[in-house]
Symmetry: C2
Subunit: 297 residues, 2 copies
């Protein structure tokens, strides 16, 4: 277990280095925009998506240096979505990871532009970064996957569904639909893009990994909602019950706390079943699943 | 001349059809977001960038159907930049082409998401649209070009320079630097991406086209600034002197009106010179250059 924890930390450090390297230097013109880009990205996030990419790679026998650029591109898209999500017109958040959000540290127009530039950078590195060992066809497949996951039928669509849901009663199916778009699409891309690094991916193996990703993506959200009810504010790092108070639909508010916990367990079991045909090389993926359901913040 | 005008109109209709086809249907889930995407894109814009792509294709002997997707992807990026530029935190514009801007017709969060989704869609169609006749390597080269032109060292960088310039005295060099980023980068991409449709582009020919694009991109801005001073409000469709009044630096305010007109003529001459080695197949490019400097709004 310690070994797994250490290795996840090693990969977190690794992706920090990759992100640092793909971002234009702070001296690049215009300097203030580039300073804001680096401020927003290099903030010590959990890097869950890149970790999933690396762990999927390990399950498929792909070396991490082949996955640095795909992993970084997904994280850039994730960060851009947070920067835009924090804007006054959206969630209006002043703090992220205890630091002022981009529009607070800089200003609102800069935060809009930071998000826009990060999305462009994600596709730019996938298309052309020389450190990426992939054929043009593989690069294209990843770009397609990321664009789809990020777009109006993926993550951005999920944001729109979320906005429309505030203050409205959702069914469990509607709530699930929102999460599948808003966070699920990018989490699936984190796993699938690693698989696309293999020249010829076995279709059945791809489907199992995809199913695993769907389950833990949703499990992450269910656990998030449970923590919003159960965890104390100090552990959570944000105010307990804040989602429920904001009129945001949550699993406990729709199906109750006990059913939410049962659902979390079901999703965990299903995620583990999806990996049954994988040997111990998939152990890091299994650890990430376990971390997802057991995390306390 | 009538022939040229008719053909430009034919291409305008053509790109409307392509844009209409690549956008998800208004019934796609989430419907309101997709309605807003279509509202923002299908608004009868001038489509200057797609026209440049098609006209460059004609100069190089590339059929328009090979250029539909590159042309559409550039226009999607251009439209996203307008939607974000119109936001209250940016230029705060209520009207575009006489119709309410996206955040007025819908709301501010939707407008942020519309811009984000359009950018993703641009890269998605370049990566995977089956109607595009290009090798994987050609597609990648276009994606790289578009991402670079759109990103923090291109269009978005230009927006940041523009924001920082309001109310400040700029030199002519600084003003030019702003335009080269803000609009020049995407106009260059419109020409270069057409050229990348040719399997092996002649380097000298590419450089001439690039130089042509740089000149007319800047000429367009100089003429814009001149119109802001000279045209009456009714012809312009927006309030005369509005840029100068907003404290935005313009060519007439920095180098004077006469020098601005001389600069416009120089840029036009330089653009025409860049096409000297092209035969009559480049006549539409020449017409676009002439239109750029002679337009009255």
């Amino acid at each position: 277990m310690l070994n797994v924890h250490t290795r996840l930390q090693t990969w977190q450090k690794r992706i920090e280095g990759v992100l640092e390297a793909v971002l234009p230097p702070p001296s690049a013109h215009p300097a203030r925009l580039h300073e804001a880009l680096r401020y927003s990205v290099l903030n010590g996030g959990k890097r869950m998506r890149p970790l999933l990419t690396y762990a999927t790679g390990e399950a498929l026998g792909i070396a991490p240096d082949h996955l640095d650029i795909p992993a970084a591109s997904i994280e850039l898209v994730h960060v851009y979505s947070l920067v835009h999500d924090d804007l006054p017109a959206m969630d209006n958040d002043d703090l992220r990871r205890g630091k002022p959000t981009c529009h607070k540290a800089f200003d609102e127009p800069t935060a809009i532009l930071v998000g826009d530039a990060l999305q462009a950078l994600a596709f730019q590195i996938l298309a052309s970064h020389p450190g990426m060992n992939a054929s043009p066809a593989q690069r294209l497949r990843m770009i397609e996957q990321l664009a789809q996951a990020a777009g109006s039928r993926g993550m951005v669509g999920g944001q729109a569904i979320d906005l429309a849901a505030v203050g409205r009663e959702l069914t469990e199916v509607e709530l699930e639909n929102m999460h599948i778009h808003k966070t699920g699409a990018l989490i699936r891309a984190s796993v699938l893009m690693a698989a696309y690094s293999v020249e010829a991916v076995d279709a059945r193996c791809l489907q199992q990994l995809d199913h695993f990703a769907k389950c833990i993506g949703l499990a992450f959200q269910v656990q998030d909602d449970i923590l919003d009810v159960e965890s104390d504010t100090r552990t959570l790092g944000k105010t307990r019950g804040v989602d429920a108070a904001a009129g945001k639909p949550t699993y406990p508010s729709i199906i109750g706390l006990a059913a939410s916990k049962a659902k979390l367990q079901d999703l965990y079991d299903e995620a583990m079943s999806a990996l049954l045909s994988f040997d111990e090389s998939a152990n890091l993926l299994r650890e990430i699943a376990e971390f997802t359901v057991k995390r306390i913040r």
